[in-house]
């Protein structure tokens, strides 16, 4: 056990080192540092990618280590994004409204200010009243608390109901899909209180930092994302490293055996499910200010399925595998679908990657499942460990 833990720690230290180096290189190359080798939009893309890596390691812990194929973790990611987005949007609108009302001869009453903010934010869905869920939107601290609390509580209640009834395997996957679908459909409604399909926008503008250039803001968010990924990696390495990891992997491999050893399996699953949901929420809260906009389509069921695909391609049951999978596939995805990849002219047919990327992804997924079940991360085993 001690040996296994050291090996784990060594790979963790290696990861933290690489992450630090990467952060340093991006910082030196960024526009904010004056070199401009790496454009601000690329810094944002890389920062977002780090957030995706963070939710991927959470997914790896819940699926690769604990064996719960959750196809709903992007719901928690989205909730984290909405929670921080509410404050960003409120505070920014408040600044704008206060400025414009200040030009009036008669100073506005607080109620007038609130009404004006409401009209600004909810005008797009034909309303001007603040829904109850916006009660804390004026407080950054409370909304940050929501980033953690709302995904945590949702996962706790959902997980308690599901695990207590011993829902496992594909049935649990379907339930988690239903959860994220229901949430997404609800948010699409105009009277959901979160601006329906418009979502929350302008999130890249950080209130109080209006005069700070985006180059700087994006770099700071990149640092935040790198820090969160590093801390998340250490947290999960700790969780899956010791006795907890032993039990959790036991649950994955033979749940009944763990029960008959006297462990309450439900408690462990609930712990893992909730912890990973909270980390997913934090990842989302860092992601969407860099993306600038969040709408209900972000938490459509397909997003959570992609998450599982990243982890499968990267390699389940090893944290760095999830990071590799998420980074590689999401960056390739934006390269292919963003028009970065050149079209392939076959003479009789031109392969346009915007259409064919999904096919390519699907084929790679099938190939990984068939020929490299341990994913890309598993290939390291062949390189590092000498054959016996």
């Amino acid at each position: 056990m001690t040996q296994g833990f050291i090996i784990h720690n060594r790979s963790m230290m290696r990861f933290i080192g690489l992450l630090g180096l990467f952060t340093l290189l991006v910082t030196l190359g960024s526009e904010a540092m004056g070199t401009g080798v790496i454009s601000t939009s690329l810094v944002k893309t890389l920062g977002k990618t780090l957030c995706l890596c963070l939710i991927a390691i959470a997914m790896d812990v819940v699926w690769g280590y604990c064996g719960i194929l959750s196809l709903g973790h992007f719901a928690f990611f989205g909730i984290g994004g909405y929670a921080i987005g509410m404050w960003l949007m409120y505070a920014r609108t408040e600044t704008i409204v206060t400025e414009s009302l200040a030009r009036q001869v008669i100073p506005p009453t607080p109620a007038e200010v609130t009404d004006a903010i409401g009209a600004q934010i909810f005008g797009v869905v034909g309303s001007s009243d603040f829904p109850v869920i916006w009660s804390f939107a004026d407080s950054l601290i409370l909304q940050l608390l929501m980033v953690v609390l709302v995904p945590g509580l949702l996962a706790l209640v959902f997980g308690w109901l599901a695990f207590r009834s011993r829902v496992t395997g594909v049935y649990l996957s379907i339930l988690t899909q239903a959860m994220t679908l229901a949430l997404s459909l609800y948010l699409f409604q105009n009277d959901s209180g979160l601006r329906g399909n418009n979502g929350l926008s302008g999130l890249q503008n950080i209130p109080g930092f209006e005069s700070t250039p985006q180059a700087t803001i994006s770099l700071v968010f990149f640092w935040g994302s790198a820090l969160a990924l590093g801390l998340g990696y250490m947290l999960f390495a700790f969780v899956v490293g010791g006795k907890m990891g032993s039990i959790v992997q036991g649950i994955r491999d033979n749940e009944a055996r763990v029960r008959f050893l006297g462990y309450r399996v439900e408690g462990y699953k609930l712990f893992v499910f909730t912890l990973t949901a909270v980390v997913s929420g934090i990842a989302g809260a860092l992601y969407y200010p860099q993306a600038g906009i969040i709408n209900p389509a972000e938490i459509a069921p397909i997003a959570s399925i992609y998450l599982a695909v990243w982890v499968a391609i990267g390699g389940r049951g090893r944290l760095y595998g999830a990071v590799i999978g998420a980074a590689l596939v999401s960056l390739l995805s934006s390269w292919f679908t963003g028009g970065g990849a050149p079209d392939v002219n076959l003479g009789f047919y031109t392969v346009q990657w915007t259409d064919w990327w999904l096919v390519l992804l699907g084929v790679s997924f099938v190939c990984v499942t068939l020929f490299a079940p341990k994913g890309i991360g598993g290939l390291f085993d062949y390189l590092i460990r000498k054959p016996r």
Binding site: M244, S246, F260, R264
Partner: protein, 249 residues
């Protein structure tokens, strides 16, 4: 010697099939007991009921000095009362080392937080070595359990039960698929365990049961057909009838 487990009048029906029919068995502490019977006699269902995997339709399962009822408790709660169970097929955690398998089974706080911040006390390492010696796997501790032979996996699982430090061990067909030599060793392990604990062995193999040299309970169609020494029950005409009437005994 006290009565540790008392199963009285238990019945269980699955879709009209009476797996257990008014079954009553009493196990003392310490005791070595063999339960034999043809396929479908209800041996595994009996274990399922005692360990909480299956709830009986009627009857009582009472445990310990205070005659606590076990029906309605979860598997984990029953395991923590002091009942360990070995499955028919060897079930060990193949991706983990022999040491990790034993460490997981060792008697320690079972909650998630206790496991998260668990630091192995020195006594645990000693205990693991003891058990590994007991089951003949002392030199296999760092190996992944998946690399062990079939017989070694069976022993590891028995070792995991011992690590739980239970008062009652329910052992389902421990000798299945073992060589003659391995069987002998398994007999020794079980006999030694039964000096201080109650051990219930479910077995098909008469030769193995003979070597255990203990009280035998014969199950048939969900209830007790005969009970006593092996020679006594094999001389029982009803037992002969049941066994001669079937080829799988």
């Amino acid at each position: 010697m006290i009565s540790l487990l008392e199963v009285s009048g238990v019945s269980k029906t699955f879709d009209g099939f009476r797996a257990i029919n008014n079954l009553s068995i009493q196990i003392n502490e310490p005791e070595l007991r063999a339960i034999i019977g043809p396929n479908g006699a209800g041996k595994t269902t009996f274990m399922d009921i005692v360990t909480g995997k299956t709830q009986p339709d009627s009857g009582q399962v009472l445990w310990g000095e205070r005659n606590e009822s076990l029906t309605g408790l979860s598997e984990a709660e029953i395991a923590n009362r002091g009942i360990g169970r070995k499955f028919q097929k060897p079930t060990v955690f193949e991706n983990q080392t022999v040491r990790q398998n034993l460490a997981m089974a060792l008697k320690n706080p079972r909650g998630p937080l206790a496991a998260l911040f668990f630091k192995e006390p020195r006594t645990d390492a000693v205990r693991i070595n003891e058990i590994a010696g007991e089951i003949g796997l002392a030199d296999q501790l760092p190996r992944p359990a998946g690399e062990l032979s079939h017989g070694q996996k069976q022993w590891l699982e028995i070792g995991m039960l011992l690590a739980q430090d239970p008062r009652l061990l329910l052992v389902d067909e421990p000798a299945a698929g073992m060589t003659a030599e391995e069987r002998e060793k398994t007999t020794d392990i079980l006999k030694r365990a039964a000096r201080t604990r109650s051990v219930v062995v479910v077995e098909h193999d008469m030769e193995f049961v003979r070597r255990l040299n203990c009280k035998v309970t014969v199950l048939h169609e969900g209830h007790v057909l005969a009970e006593g020494s092996l020679d006594h029950v094999t001389a029982d005409p009803t037992v002969i009838d049941v066994y001669l009437g079937r080829s799988d005994a």
